[in-house]
């Protein structure tokens, strides 16, 4: 019965102990936000969170935490508390997240596809790039109806309509004039799949060779039955999602629902803050930002926070070099466990 540790390039760590059961603790460096919760909960002081400020600024690939395999007993508390899925304890190949009895953080993020209008606001706002919206847009020609015809005998092939068409629907077969064939073009055609019947070609044609009618215009405000059908699917990567709530807040139709693992309070000391921006870079939830200074080189004004997006992980507090940030975790949402030791360990993280 020996505990072994392997540290891979890129900072991932595997700690393993094989005995009656094989216990494996997997650490994914890329997902870690260096919040220090694992260090705080570890009952045997086997974990140390490394200084994040320097690591983030230099984009080093070293592990954000250090695990002492001589101390680690592979109990799994770090794995249960990690809000970023960066730690996973597996017993005989099964994650304790799937083993009944182990407390799990109650956290979720969902997009109701019946409500979602595929606007991609959440995809753009998600600080972890965890959301992918795949949308199918209708064909432009299905939204318009009309007629267009070019009188090829009148057309002088000047190319103005071709140049002006916003839908690239007009194509002229240009020719190099020769003494045998002294023409500048041989043909002009309209791709009716592309034409949106805007009428620009008709208005710019210097010889009035184009006839164009839009069938929708005469109806005025009474739309005829040409409903655009925008379909799509949404996907939230469960590994990357940090349940910050950006998608829920930014969604214009309330299609996103987020449950956060922790509740609490984020306190900033404006007097102490020196504007180094380490916290801004460390925060996995984009809670913190500085207003842009007016002149290059000016110190940014006071640090701005929006707690709507905060999950109270404590990464900012840990990274602040001047102790200007305090994270007060007031409650942890987790599934019940019969183990008193685990309950006490979870509760010890609240203030």
């Amino acid at each position: 019965m020996e505990t072994t540790e392997v540290i891979e390039e890129g900072g991932n760590i595997t700690v393993e102990r094989a005995g009656e059961e094989t216990r494996k603790l997997l650490f994914n460096n890329g997902l870690c936000a260096a919040c220090g919760l694992c260090e705080e909960i570890c009952p045997v002081e086997a974990i140390e969170t490394n200084p994040t400020g320097a690591m983030i600024r230099t984009e080093q690939e070293t592990s954000k935490i250090t695990i002492d395999e001589g101390k680690c007993v592979l109990c799994g508390m770090c794995s249960s508390i990690c809000p970023f899925q960066a730690l996973d304890l597996q017993i005989d190949g099964t994650s304790i997240k799937e083993i009944p009895g182990y407390p799990q953080l109650i956290k979720s993020a969902e997009i109701d596809e019946n409500e979602c209008i595929n606007c991609k606001a959440c995809e753009t706002a998600c600080p972890q790039d965890a959301i992918t919206i795949t949308r199918e847009l209708p064909k432009r020609k299905d939204l318009v109806t009309g007629e267009i015809e070019i009188d090829k005998d009148t057309c002088i092939y000047c190319g103005i309509c071709e140049e002006m068409c916003p839908a690239d629907a007009i194509e002229i077969t240009h020719e190099e004039p020769t003494s045998i064939n002294p023409v500048i073009a041989s043909d002009i055609n309209v791709d009716e799949d592309k034409c949106v019947h805007c009428g620009i070609c008709k208005r710019v044609c210097p010889v009035d060779a184009i006839m164009q009618v839009c069938r929708i215009c005469p109806y005025g405000e009474y739309e005829i039955e040409l409903e655009p059908e925008i379909t799509g699917t949404s996907y939230i990567d469960p590994e990357l999602c940090v349940n910050c709530g950006w998608c829920q807040e930014i969604c214009p139709v309330d299609a996103a629902k987020v449950t956060k693992p922790f509740e609490g309070e984020l306190i900033l000391d404006e007097e102490k803050c020196q504007g180094c921006e380490t916290c801004v870079m460390v925060c996995p939830c984009n809670v913190l930002s500085f207003p842009k200074p007016e002149k290059v080189g000016d110190k940014p004004e006071k640090l701005h926070k929006d707690e709507t997006f905060c999950i109270y992980c404590g990464a900012c507090e840990r990274s602040c070099p001047v102790d200007a940030i305090t994270v007060k975790r007031k409650s942890i949402n987790y599934t019940p466990t019969k183990s008193k030791a685990w309950q006490n360990a979870f509760e010890s993280l609240t203030k």
Binding site: V73, C75, W342
Partner: protein, 159 residues
């Protein structure tokens, strides 16, 4: 590592231990067939033992001394000699006269280290907490020493 394979001395001592175990198991009501199976010997050997015959009578005296050592020495020495966990369990449990009561405090975090350290296989995990079957506890206290949270208590009870 020193190999004891083919080494006559440990084998002789083991035969003494098996002799004592065979006698005790029979007293506890096990059939000769069961005794033979649990100790990994044939039935005629069991029969010899029960009739007070052993190739080396001196080994029985040595075996008696071993069974009276402190629980940890008895367990570890027996395991070193026999190198088989099930037979070690059988011998220790059938020859040990002392009894122990094990309890686990609520501070247990369910890390499972005690399970791996218990040679008697007396420990299981139940709802993130170690559960020790006192019936199989031999009082070696290895688990107590290994537990990272000092959550195990072993008491000796009157026989």
């Amino acid at each position: 590592m020193i190999s004891t394979h083919g080494d006559p001395m440990p084998k002789h001592i083991v035969s003494g231990l098996k002799y004592l175990a065979a006698v005790n198991l029979t007293k506890q009501g096990h059939t000769q067939k069961e005794v033979a199976k649990r100790l990994g010997i044939n039935r005629s050997t069991v029969s010899h033992y029960l009739n007070g015959r052993n190739l080396s009578m001196r080994s029985i005296e040595i075996a008696k001394v071993i069974t009276e050592l402190c629980p940890r020495d008895f367990l570890l020495l027996t395991y070193a000699l026999i190198q088989d966990i099930d037979k070690t369990k059988t011998i220790v449990k059938s020859c040990q006269k002392r009894k122990f009561k094990a309890s686990v405090k609520n501070s247990c975090i369910g890390c499972g280290i005690c399970i791996d350290s218990c040679l008697m296989k007396a420990i299981k995990l139940d709802e993130l907490k170690a559960k020790i079957d006192s019936k199989w506890c031999c009082g070696c206290l290895i688990c107590v020493e290994m537990c990272p949270t000092n959550s195990i208590e072993i008491e000796e009870v009157e026989y």
